[in-house]
């Protein structure tokens, strides 16, 4: 009997042991998978938002990877802010899903919101509180207390330079400080995802520069999503830009990619000293698509390249051979502004 129960026990042990190993294996597999998927921190699938008859966001799908600084561009009313509000869970989508590090914002909102820091448009905050009180309040909601809370609050106050106004009531602060308080509350918990709706709106050039430096520093190990209509900001801080118009993505790529889509990409800008027929000389070059006269300066021309191909060498050779009467000659980069206008107006025209 004893022997029997002993072998039984052994058998049970064996079963348990094998269950444990398979559990461990499953864990390891899940870990591996999590690592692989962690790269895609934010997944947006077929996201739509309708207000009555008006469709503000129309079937958006994209992913954002760790370390990306995404510039979200679009004309006013294109659905930028609505998308931000959907990502941060303020609004619920009419259709589609947003997942933040595997947490669905609709079904698991608290966990998803814990991972995010958000600066809403206009940087709203409780005006009757002092900067310090407000940051303490946000810190507590974010789950900090005691010395850790104090440390976090002091850290962000230093980071966005709020020392001078720490004890001042928020409603008495200037626009620039107000925005910085909003930024401070968004980064107090060192979030994995930082969503900033027009973070530099209303700041002076120095403050803008400062905020951009801050964003660049923050961006290393997290995702930053910036909505803006200031295009230079995208070139300055973003590693990727998405342009939306009428709720749909019309362009998506690195700022350099987008710039190269401009018809002025690789174009050569020349300034003449007297009238001269450039087109006649250039007609033999296959990569030259045309010559455009500057609207303000009669003697300034732009020689456009086909599909962004480099035409510098060829054109400069022709210029030397034919002794063009030039005082200036340089290659111009595509401007994001041109691309922005082209892609957003195409949609507007079609709609």
């Amino acid at each position: 009997m004893a022997l029997f129960s002993g072998s039984l026990r052994l058998e049970r042990e064996n079963i348990r042991e094998s269950a444990r190993t398979s559990e461990r294996r499953a864990e390891r597999r899940a870990e591996k998978q999590a690592k692989r998927e962690a790269k895609e921190m934010i997944e947006i699938r077929n996201l739509s938002k309708k207000f009555d008859q008006f469709t503000a966001v129309d079937d958006l799908s994209f992913e954002i990877k760790e370390g990306e600084v995404l510039g979200f561009l679009g004309p006013n009313g294109a659905g930028k802010s609505t998308t931000m509000k959907l990502i941060t869970g303020f609004l619920s989508p009419s259709a589609g899903t947003v997942t933040i590090d595997q947490h669905d914002i609709s079904s698991d909102p608290i966990r998803a919101k814990e991972l995010m820091g958000y600066l809403p448009e206009g940087a709203p905050s409780y005006g009757d509180m002092s900067t310090l009180e407000f940051l303490n309040f946000i810190g507590r909601i974010r789950g900090f207390s005691g010395s850790e809370l104090e440390q976090r609050v002091n850290h962000v106050i230093r980071e966005v330079e709020l020392q001078a106004v720490a004890n001042q009531t928020i409603e008495t602060l200037s626009k620039g400080f107000n925005r910085r308080v909003g930024l401070a509350q968004a980064i107090i918990h060192d979030p994995k995802v930082l969503v900033l709706d027009e973070p530099t709106d209303g700041l002076d050039p120095n403050q803008k520069h400062h905020v951009r430096e801050l964003i660049k520093n923050l961006a290393q190990d997290k995702i930053v999503i910036i909505s803006t209509h200031i295009l230079e900001e995208v070139t300055a801080v973003c590693s990727r830009a998405i342009i939306i118009a009428e709720g749909r993505i019309v362009a998506d790529g690195t700022p350099a990619d987008l710039e190269s889509q401009s018809k002025y990409h690789q174009a050569i800008s020349v300034k003449l000293t007297e009238a001269y027929d450039l087109e006649a000389d250039l007609s033999s070059l296959a990569n030259v698509s045309g010559v455009e006269k500057d609207e303000e300066d009669e003697l300034r021309f732009r020689i456009l390249a086909n599909d962004g191909k480099s035409i510098f060498t060829q054109v400069s050779e022709v210029a030397q051979q034919k002794h063009w009467p030039i005082t200036e000659f340089h290659v111009s980069r595509g401007q994001l502004e041109d691309v922005f206008r082209t892609v957003t107006q195409e949609v507007g025209g079609a709609g």
Binding site: F51, T88, F90, L91, Y118, E121, P124, D128
Partner: protein, 244 residues
């Protein structure tokens, strides 16, 4: 401290960060004094009780409580802080309850500060203090009922003045629902159970019985369920309205 507690504390402190709380308390106390001593004739009645004091409370609350509650959500929407609050890891229910409780606590503080009247009555005579405590609780519950309506109306609009007017109107309806004048106005053919149901919704019906010292669990339940229902409605309205 959970998020509910953190928001509650912030809200309550913000009442005292502006003159609002002080003005509310001072006017509440002055109005109570006038109603009780001048108009209620506390001394002339020759009775040591606080019936005149509590009798005026429904009418006092009709204007005072909506004044506190009107900005509960309307201001959050107007300043945009609602977007900040609801994108923090906070459940909507916690936010609704915390804001309500903070405003309710303020009315509680104002009510507690009327204690000199209670001391006066005890000095002058020998009142039934059990009845007085019951009436205090009843009065506070009624204030909660008014506030819950205010919370919902405040969620409906960005404009706190509109919220105030809506709240006063609806509160007035609930105050007079149980009054005899209104009940007699029903035509004879009207089904009696509907008239009864109508009257059962009235604040006065429940408050009067508590104020007389009749501690009926049904009256407590009425206010509790009433508050819960209006707060639930607030949450729904906030959810629907935040889109625009």
């Amino acid at each position: 401290m959970g998020n509910l507690g953190i928001i509650f504390k912030r809200e309550l402190l913000s009442y005292f960060a502006t003159p609002l709380a002080y003005i509310f308390i001072v006017i509440f106390l002055i109005a109570n004094g006038i109603f009780t001593f001048d108009m209620g004739g506390l001394y002339l009645r020759g009775q040591a009780d606080l019936a005149p004091f509590f009798g005026f409370h429904p009418w006092l609350y009709l204007f005072m409580v909506p004044a506190i509650g009107m900005s509960l959500w309307a201001d959050e929407r107007k300043t945009g802080t609602i977007e900040l609050l609801l994108t923090l890891p906070v459940r909507l229910a916690d936010a609704v309850i915390a804001k309500f409780l903070a405003a309710w606590a303020l009315t509680g503080i104002a009510l507690l500060l009327t204690f000199p009247i209670w001391i006066t009555v005890n000095y002058l005579g020998d009142p039934d203090n059990g009845v007085i405590i019951a009436a205090y609780i009843g009065s506070w519950l009624m204030a909660g009922g008014f506030l819950a309506i205010a919370s919902c109306m405040s969620a409906c609009t960005k404009n706190s003045v509109i919220a105030f007017i809506l709240t006063v109107s609806i509160c007035f309806l609930f105050v007079i629902m149980g009054s005899p004048i209104l009940l007699e106005a029903f035509p004879g053919w009207f089904p009696q159970f509907l008239v009864d149901a109508f009257s059962a919704m009235g604040f006065l019906t429940h408050f009067d019985s508590i104020a007389k010292g009749v501690l009926d669990i049904r009256d407590f339940m009425f206010f509790t369920v009433f508050i819960a229902a209006w707060l639930f409605a607030s949450a729904i309205v906030i959810e629907i309205k935040k889109a625009n």
